[in-house]
C-alpha cells in the first residue's frame, strides 16, 4: 500500500499510521497494526500470526509490550536497534547498468528497507547516482518519493540525471530565497510554475491546435460531399459512352448482314431510303420480268401449239410409216401391206404429214430461240436487278459504317469530356486516398463508403478534440491540485519543503510519501531530519563520512585532548548505531618501549593511575595491565608481549587464553564474501599478499598484514585483512555471522552501505585521495608520465629562498630549481609568511595597489601563490594536449540535459551562468583568495581568450560539481604558527575531490609541515575537526617529502619558477 492509497479519503475511519504514532502531535492513538508489526521480533510475529489465524483476530493485549513504543527515529538515534530484523533484500535489476556491486547493494537495501537505510561515501563515490537509481526504481514500483537535501546543488545534481525519466513526474520546490531563473534549464522546468506554464502553453495549446486540425479535417471532408454526385454523374456518362462505343465497335462487323437482312425483309410502308431503293429496284425488275414473262407466256402458248401440232403429226405419221414401209417392201403377208393397199394414199398422206412436220421444225427452232432469248432476257433483268440491289446494299452498308464511325468519334469525344469531369472532381477531393482507382462504380462506391466513414470519424474526432480541449480548459482552475496529485517525486531543501504551498507544513493533511531520501544528510540538523522524516514511512539517508567516523583520538602522552565542541550530526549517529565499524573495536596493537602492546580496553586518562602491572606466572615475559578501580572488579586492559613475539603469535595467544579476537581494522569498510571453500569477513577491499594467517579456532583464522601508518600513528603496524571460516570445518554464512556477532558484536542489519569505489576520479588520483582522506595505503602504481596529483610549493623553500615578508623580488627567491622537496621540508620550522591579512593595513606586500583596493576589507590572500597558480594555468592552457583534453571534457559535459534539448551553459557563454562542470576549477580555500585570483585572471588576455572553461570559487561553490582539473590554492603561509586551512576538513576534502583527472595543490610547504605537527584544537576547529585536517595534511606533507622520485602520479613542483 502506498502512502497515496493510505491517504485516500474513504469516508470511514482510516487506520492510524506510524507517521501519526511517530509524531504524537498528529495523532495520539497508539499506532496501526502495520507499524506495530514491524516492531515485533520475527519469531513472535509468527506466533501472533498463528494466533490470529486461530482466533480470527488479535487483541492488542496479546501483542505484549510492543505498544506504545519509542518513536523509531528517536530509537535509532539512541541506538535502540535490537528490534530491527536483518534485511535480506533480493537483488535489484538496475536501470543504470554501470552501477557497481556496492551501489547495487545500496539500491536494493534502500528499496526494501521497511524503516531506514543509510548510504555513506566520500565525494565521487557515486552517491547521487545511487540516489537517482533508487528514485527511479521506487517510482517504477508506484511509490511516491520525497528527495530532500541540505543544499539545492545536491538536488539539482540528481534531477539532472533523472529529471526527465518517464517513470517520474518530479516537482522541484523552491526555497524562499531561491529564484527559478538561477536553476539549470533542465531543473527549472520541473518547478511548479514552469509545469503550469508548460501545461498551458504546450498541453492546452496542443489541444487547441488539435481541435483546430480536427475541425479543419472535418470541414474538408464535408466539402467533399458535393464532389461525389459529380463523380457519379461523370461515371454514368462514362459507363454509357463506353457501352455505346463498345456497341458501335461490335456492330460494325454486322452491318453487312444487317443490311442484307434488312434487304431481305419486306419493305415497310415508311421504310428507310434503303428500303425504298430496294423497293424501286424490285419494282423495276418486276416490271421487266412481267414483260418477259408475258412474252414467254405467249411463246409458251406458241410452243405448245407447235408441239401439239408436231405431236399430232408425229402421231399421224407413225402408223403411216409402218404401212408405207410394208408397202414399200411388199410385205403383202402383213396387215400393214394390206392396209396400205387398201387404206388409200398412204404415201401421199405420209409425205404430206412429213412435209408438215418438216415445216414445224423451223418454227420450233425459232420458238426455241425465242424462248432462249426470253430466258436470257429474264436472266439479264434478274442480273441487273440483283446488281442494283447489291449496289444498294453495299451503299447502305457503307453508309451505315460511316454513320457508326461518326458516332463512335462523337462518343469518344463525349467520353473524354466525361473523364475530364471525373478527373476534375477527383482533384477536388481533399484526401488523395479517397480518389477512386478508376471510373468504376465499385471503386466509387468503396471510396464513398470510405469517405463516409472518414467523415463520421472526423466528426467524432472533432467532437472528442472539442471535449478534450474543453476538459483541459476546465482543468485550468484546479490544475495545481491536479498536477500535484500526479507528482511522485518532490524535491526540496528542508526550508523549501516547509514553505511549499502544496507539500509544505501549512498543508493539511500534510503530504506523505512512501520513501524519503535525504541527500547530504551529514549536513542536516536533527530538526531537518524530523521535519522530513515525519513525511514518509521509510527513510534513506545519504551522506559523507564525518569526523566522528574517525577513530576516537588516542590519548597522547602528556597532552590533554580537549573535548569536542561539536556533537556528531544525526546522520553520523544513525550511521554509528546501524553500521558496525570494525574501527570501533577497542583493540589496538602498537610497538612501544621495545615491546608489543595489545590494548584490550581503552582506559580514560583519569583512570590510568589505577592501572597495575602484573606478570604471568607461567610466562613472565608477558605482562598484564589491569585496571583496578575502587569498588569495582579488576579489568584486564592491556597485554604486553616481549619484542620477540610476533603479532600473529600474540593474537593467537590472546584468543587461546582470553577468547578475545583482537581485531584491528584499517578502514570502516567491510563485507561478507563467500567462496566455495570458505566464508570470509573482508576488512580490506583487496587481499594483501603479505597477509599472515592467525588460527583462532577450528576452521577460523584471522589474516593480518603489516600496514604503513602515518608518522604520528605508531599503532598502525598490523591490520586485520579478513577473518576466514572454512566450510570444510562446518562453517557456513549463518554460523559465521553468529560467531562474528558473539566475538565482534557484528550484527549486520543490512541497512547501510558504504560506497568506497571512486567513480569520478581516475584510478591514480582516486588512490591518492583515498590515501590522503581515508588513510589508506600509499598508492604505488601509476602510469609513467601521468601526474594525477601535483603539489606546487610556493615558495620553493630551497636554501636560497627567504620568506616573502623580507621584501625581496620573487624571481630572486627562485634560485634552486629541481632540488628535492624532501630536503626543503626537512628543516622547516615555520611557513614563508606569504599570506596577507587584508585587515592589516600596515602590511607591506607587492600586490598592486589597484588589486588590493578591489579586494574585500577582510580575509586572507596569498599573492605569490596566486601568481604561481596563474603561471601554471597559463602553461597548461598553452599545452595542446591539455587543450584538446579540456575541449573533449567540455563537449561531454555540455551534452543536452537528458531529452530536453537544453544545454547547461558553460562559463563565458552568453548565459553567463557558471558551467556545471568546468574543465578547470580553481578552488581557493578562502573567498578573498578566490577573488584575488579572479581579478588576476582578468588581466591575462591569453586566459580570457582561451576556449577552455575556467571557474574560480570556494570549495562550497563546487559542491556536487566536478571538473577535469582542479587547481587548489591552500593560501595559508604563516611565518611561525600552525594555522587551519579553510573552513575545516570537509572544505578541504571537497576541494580535493572535485577533479576527475588531476589535482594541483598550491601551498606553502613550511606552513603545511607546521600544521601537520600541531595536534589539538586550532582556531575555529575543534579537536576532532582539527585532528582530521591534521591527518590529511600530514599525509600530504609526507607524500611531498617522500614520493617525488618513486611515485610518478605525485609530482611536487617548484612554484616560483616560471
Amino acid at each position: 500500500m502506498t502512502q497515496r492509497e493510505r491517504q485516500t479519503p474513504d469516508g470511514g475511519a482510516q487506520a492510524p499510521s506510524r507517521l501519526a504514532a511517530e509524531f504524537p502531535a498528529a495523532n495520539g492513538s497508539g499506532g496501526c497494526w502495520e507499524d506495530l508489526v514491524t516492531e515485533i521480533p520475527a519469531a513472535r510475529r509468527q506466533e501472533l500470526l498463528a494466533l490470529a489465524d486461530r482466533q480470527g483476530l488479535l487483541y492488542v493485549h496479546q501483542l505484549g509490550p510492543v505498544s506504545p513504543r519509542h518513536p523509531l527515529f528517536s530509537a535509532l538515534l539512541h541506538g535502540q536497534v535490537a528490534n530491527l530484523e536483518p534485511l535480506h533484500p533480493p537483488a535489484v535489476m538496475p536501470i543504470d547498468p554501470d552501477l557497481d556491486d556496492a551501489q547495487r547493494e545500496a539500491v536494493a537495501r534502500a528499496l526494501h528497507t521497511p524503516d531506514v537505510c543509510l548510504i555513506q561515501g566520500q565525494p565521487g563515490t557515486g552517491k547521487s547516482r545511487v540516489v537517482a537509481e533508487i528514485i527511479v526504481q521506487a517510482a517504477v514500483r508506484g511509490e511516491r518519493v520525497l528527495l530532500v537535501a541540505a543544499g539545492a546543488a545536491a538536488l539539482d545534481c540528481v534531477l539532472e540525471r533523472i529529471g526527465t525519466h518517464e517513470a517520474l513526474f518530479p516537482l522541484r520546490c523552491l526555497a524562499p530565497d531561491e529564484r527559478a531563473e538561477a536553476l539549470p534549464a533542465c531543473v527549472r522546468r520541473l518547478t511548479f510554475a514552469e509545469r503550469l506554464r508548460a501545461f498551458e502553453e504546450q498541453t492546452l495549446g496542443a489541444a487547441r491546435r488539435s481541435l483546430g486540425e480536427a475541425t479543419r479535417d472535418w470541414e474538408a471532408r464535408r466539402r467533399d460531399e458535393a464532389v461525389w454526385p459529380r463523380l457519379e454523374g461523370a461515371l454514368a456518362r462514362i459507363v454509357h459512352l463506353d457501352a455505346e462505343l463498345q456497341n458501335l465497335a461490335g456492330g460494325r462487323d454486322g452491318f453487312a448482314g444487317e443490311v442484307l437482312a434488312e434487304a431481305e425483309r419486306p419493305a415497310e410502308p415508311n421504310g428507310s431510303a434503303f428500303q425504298a431503293e430496294l423497293a424501286r429496284i424490285a419494282s423495276r425488275n418486276a416490271d421487266a420480268l412481267a414483260r418477259i414473262e408475258s412474252r414467254q407466256a405467249e411463246h409458251r402458248t406458241a410452243t405448245v401449239t407447235v408441239q401439239a401440232q408436231r405431236h399430232y403429226l408425229e402421231t399421224e405419221v407413225q402408223p403411216l410409216l409402218a404401212l408405207a414401209e410394208a408397202k414399200r417392201t411388199g410385205q403383202w403377208w402383213t396387215a400393214a401391206w394390206w392396209r396400205a393397199v387398201f387404206g388409200g394414199n398412204v404415201g401421199g398422206r405420209l409425205e404430206e404429214l412429213q412435209k408438215q412436220l418438216q415445216e414445224l421444225s423451223p418454227l420450233e427452232a425459232r420458238l426455241k430461240k425465242e424462248a432462249d432469248d426470253l430466258a436470257d432476257e429474264r436472266s439479264s433483268v434478274d442480273g441487273l436487278a440483283r446488281t442494283e440491289r447489291d449496289a444498294a446494299v453495299g451503299a447502305e452498308t457503307t453508309r451505315r459504317l460511316a454513320a457508326a464511325d461518326a458516332r463512335a468519334a462523337a462518343a469518344a469525344d463525349e467520353r473524354g469530356a466525361a473523364e475530364s469531369e471525373w478527373q476534375a472532381a477527383c482533384r477536388e477531393l481533399t484526401d488523395a486516398a479517397l480518389i477512386p482507382a478508376g471510373p468504376s462504380a465499385e471503386a466509387l462506391r468503396m471510396k464513398r463508403l470510405e469517405w463516409e466513414a472518414g467523415l463520421k470519424q472526423a466528426e467524432q474526432r472533432r467532437a472528442a478534440a472539442a471535449q478534450s480541449a474543453a476538459g483541459l480548459e476546465q482543468a485550468l482552475p484546479t490544475l495545481p491540485e491536479q498536477l500535484a496529485r500526479y507528482v511522485n517525486l518532490v524535491v526540496a531543501t528542508p526550508c523549501g519543503l516547509a514553505q511549499d504551498v502544496r507539500f509544505g507544513e501549512g498543508v493539511a493533511p500534510p503530504a506523505t510519501f512512501d520513501l524519503l531520501i535525504f541527500e547530504e544528510a551529514d549536513q542536516a540538523t536533527e530538526a531537518d531530519f524530523l521535519q522530513a522524516a515525519r513525511r514518509a514511512r521509510r527513510w534513506v539517508f545519504v551522506g559523507e563520512p564525518q569526523p566522528d567516523d574517525l577513530p576516537p583520538p588516542r590519548p597522547t602522552h602528556g597532552r590533554v585532548v580537549r573535548p569536542s565542541a561539536l556533537r556528531p550530526g544525526c546522520f553520523q549517529r544513525l550511521w554509528r548505531n546501524l553500521r558496525w565499524d570494525p574501527r570501533r573495536l577497542p583493540y589496538s596493537w602498537e610497538q612501544r618501549d621495545g615491546r608489543l602492546h595489545c590494548r584490550l580496553r581503552a582506559v580514560p586518562r583519569e583512570q590510568e593511575s589505577w592501572v597495575q602491572s602484573e606478570r604471568l606466572a607461567d610466562r613472565p615475559d608477558v605482562e598484564l595491565h589491569i585496571l583496578s578501580r575502587p569498588h569495582q572488579e579488576p579489568e584486564l586492559v592491556e597485554v604486553v608481549f616481549p619484542a620477540s613475539t610476533s603479532v600473529p603469535e600474540a593474537k593467537e595467544y590472546l584468543y587461546r587464553e582470553l577468547g578475545e579476537v583482537t581485531l584491528q581494522a584499517a578502514s570502516a569498510d567491510w563485507q561478507w564474501a563467500e567462496t566455495a571453500e570458505r566464508v570470509i569477513l573482508r576488512l580490506t577491499p583487496v587481499a594483501d599478499p603479505n597477509a599472515v594467517l592467525v588460527p583462532l579456532c577450528a576452521g577460523v583464522r584471522e589474516l593480518v598484514a603489516p600496514a604503513a601508518g602515518d608518522e604520528n600513528d605508531e599503532t598502525a603496524e598490523w591490520r586485520t585483512c579478513a577473518v576466514e571460516f572454512d566450510r570444510s570445518a562446518g562453517w557456513d554464512r549463518t554460523r559465521a555471522c553468529g560467531w562474528a556477532a558473539e566475538q565482534l558484536r557484528l550484527r549486520d542489519l543490512c541497512r547501510s552501505t558504504l560506497l568506497t569505489v571512486p567513480h569520478r576520479t581516475c584510478p591514480a588520483l582516486a588512490a591518492w585521495l583515498m590515501h590522503l582522506l581515508d588513510g589508506q595505503s600509499v598508492p604505488t602504481g601509476g602510469a609513467p608520465g601521468e601526474m594525477a596529483f601535483e603539489f606546487v610549493a610556493v615558495p620553493t623553500g630551497a636554501a636560497g629562498d627567504e620568506p616573502r615578508r623580507r621584501g625581496e623580488e620573487e624571481h630572486r627567491v627562485r634560485s634552486v630549481g629541481g632540488a628535492a622537496v624532501a630536503t626543503r621540508l626537512r628543516h622547516v620550522k615555520g611557513g614563508a609568511g606569504l599570506e596577507t591579512d587584508l585587515t592589516d593595513s600596515r602590511r607591506i606586500d607587492q600586490m598592486p595597489a589597484d588589486l588590493r583596493a578591489a579586494l574585500p576589507p577582510r580575509g586572507v590572500v596569498n599573492y605569490l601563490e596566486a601568481q604561481a597558480l596563474i603561471r601554471r594555468l597559463e602553461g597548461m592552457l598553452a599545452d595542446d594536449s591539455f587543450r584538446a583534453a579540456a575541449e573533449r571534457w567540455q563537449q561531454n559535459q555540455a551534452r543536452p540535459c537528458e531529452h530536453q534539448g537544453a544545454v547547461c551553459a558553460a562559463p563565458g557563454q552568453t548565459t553567463g551562468r557558471p558551467a556545471h562542470c568546468p574543465a578547470v576549477a580553481i578552488v581557493a580555500l578562502y573567498p578573498t583568495q578566490g577573488e584575488l585570483i579572479s581579478r588576476m585572471l582578468q588581466r591575462v588576455p591569453a586566459l580570457l581568450a582561451s576556449p577552455v572553461t575556467v571557474e574560480v570559487g570556494t570549495p562550497s561553490s563546487f559542491r556536487h560539481r566536478e571538473c577535469m582539473t582542479a587547481l587548489v590554492s591552500l593560501t595559508r603561509s604563516h611565518t611561525h604558527r600552525a594555522v587551519p586551512f579553510g573552513d575545516g576538513p570537509e572544505a578541504l576534502a571537497l576541494a580535493l575531490t572535485r577533479a576527475a583527472e588531476r589535482v594541483i595543490l598550491f601551498g606553502d610547504p613550511g606552513t603545511l609541515a607546521r600544521r601537520s605537527q600541531w595536534q589539538g584544537a586550532l582556531d575555529h576547529l575543534d579537536d576532532t575537526a582539527a585532528e582530521r585536517e591534521r591527518a590529511v595534511l600530514a599525509r600530504l606533507v609526507r607524500a611531498v617529502h617522500e614520493t617525488e622520485a618513486t611515485l610518478p602520479v605525485f609530482r611536487p613542483r617548484e612554484g616560483n619558477r616560471a
Partner: protein, 328 residues
C-alpha cells in the same frame, strides 16, 4: 466483565450542571454510564465511485478518438496512463494503450468504480453485560483507550456480518457504505495486513434522550468530570434499543427508592426510609414527612436546589432523574 462496579459516580451537583448544559436539547431521559468498545482495525476491500479528473478524461478522450496525446507532458502522460491502467480503464501502458470496456464506460459517465484494499477502523459496543452480541456504533469523537476487561472477546464473524447488512441499516448506523468485504487471513493467508486487531476503548459519559430525537451521548472527562459538550461522542437514531438494550428498561421503583436512601445518607438526612418514592413522568416525587422536609430545607448548600438528582441502577448505565420533595 465488571462494567458497573468500578464506575466512577458523579456528584448530584455535577449531574445538575450537565443537565443545565444540555437544557437546549430538552432531554426526556438521562443516563450516566460507561461503554466498552471494540475498536477493530481490519483489512477491507472498498469500492469507490471515483470521478475522472479533467486530465484523466482529456487523455481518455484523446486515446478513444485517436487524437495525438503527445501534447501532454510525457512524464505527466506516463503518470496518467499508469493511474488509468491501474484503475483498469486502459489495457497496459505500452506505446498503444487502448480503452477497456470499463474505460469507455468511465469516459461516457465521467466516473468509475475503483476497488482498493486498506485497513479501516470499526467500533462495536460490547454488550456482554446484556447477553447480546456487539453492535456496530460509529463514534463521532475519539474514545479513550481502556484496559481490556476480563473475558474480553469479540465474535469476529460480526465484523463480516455487518458488510452483508442492508443499505438502510448501514445508513442508519453510519456503517461505511463503500466497504465491500472484510479481508481476513482466510482470504489472504500469511498477509500481515489481513490480521484484524481489537483494541479496547471506552466511553464514559452521559446519554440523553432529547425531545423529538433519538439518543445522543456526550463524553465526560473523568479527571474533572467535565462534559465535552462541543461534539457528541455518538448518536443513535431510531432503533437504538438494539444497540443499547439496557437503556430500554426503566429502573424499578425500588431502585429509585434505594437511590433516594443513598442520597439522604450522603447528605445526612435521617428518617429517609419514611419517605415514599414515586415516579411522575420525568420526575421522581418523594413524599416526605415534615421533619425530613425541614431538615432538607435547612441543610447546607441548599441540596434541593442544586443537588436534587438521583442515579438509579447498578449496571453499566445509571438512569438519572431530578426529584422533588412533597411534604406529607
Amino acid at each position: 466483565m465488571t462494567h458497573g462496579l468500578d464506575l466512577p459516580l458523579p456528584t448530584a451537583r455535577a449531574l445538575h450542571g450537565w443537565w443545565r448544559e444540555l437544557a437546549d436539547l430538552r432531554p426526556r431521559r438521562l443516563w450516566y454510564g460507561r461503554l466498552y468498545f471494540h475498536h477493530l482495525e481490519a483489512l477491507v476491500e472498498t469500492a469507490h465511485e471515483t470521478s475522472l479528473d479533467p486530465l484523466q478524461r482529456a487523455l481518455l478522450q484523446a486515446l478513444a478518438a485517436d487524437l495525438p496525446s503527445s501534447s501532454f507532458d510525457p512524464q505527466l502522460q506516463a503518470r496518467l496512463l499508469s493511474e488509468l491502467a491501474k484503475a483498469g480503464l486502459l489495457d497496459g501502458t505500452d506505446a498503444a494503450p487502448t480503452l477497456t470496456a470499463l474505460g469507455r464506460a468511465a469516459l461516457a459517465t465521467g466516473s468509475f468504480v475503483s476497488i482498493r484494499r486498506s485497513r479501516r477502523s470499526f467500533w462495536f459496543v460490547d454488550n456482554t453485560v446484556c447477553g447480546t452480541s456487539p453492535c456496530f456504533l460509529q463514534p463521532r469523537r475519539p474514545l479513550a483507550t481502556a484496559k481490556a476487561p476480563e473475558g474480553w472477546t469479540f465474535p469476529v464473524e460480526e465484523l463480516s456480518a455487518c458488510v452483508q447488512r442492508p443499505a438502510e441499516w448501514k445508513q442508519r448506523h453510519g456503517y461505511p457504505a463503500d466497504v465491500r468485504a472484510i479481508i481476513d487471513l482466510a482470504a489472504a493467508p500469511g498477509d500481515w495486513r489481513a490480521v484484524a486487531l481489537d483494541r479496547a476503548e471506552q466511553f464514559l459519559g452521559i446519554v440523553v434522550e432529547p425531545e423529538g430525537a433519538a439518543l445522543t451521548a456526550f463524553s465526560i472527562r473523568p479527571d474533572v468530570m467535565g462534559l465535552e459538550r462541543d461534539r457528541p461522542a455518538f448518536t443513535l437514531a431510531a432503533g437504538w434499543e438494539e444497540v443499547l438494550p439496557d437503556l430500554a428498561v426503566e429502573p424499578a421503583l425500588e431502585e429509585w427508592r434505594q437511590a433516594w436512601l443513598t442520597w439522604c445518607a450522603a447528605h445526612g438526612i435521617p428518617e429517609a426510609d419514611t419517605c415514599a418514592v414515586a415516579r411522575e413522568s420525568l420526575l421522581i416525587q418523594v413524599r416526605a414527612p415534615k421533619n425530613v422536609v425541614e431538615r432538607l430545607q435547612t441543610a447546607r448548600g441548599e441540596p434541593l436546589k442544586n443537588e436534587a438528582w438521583l442515579l438509579a441502577g447498578t449496571g453499566r448505565f445509571r438512569a438519572a432523574a431530578m426529584f422533588e420533595v412533597i411534604e406529607i
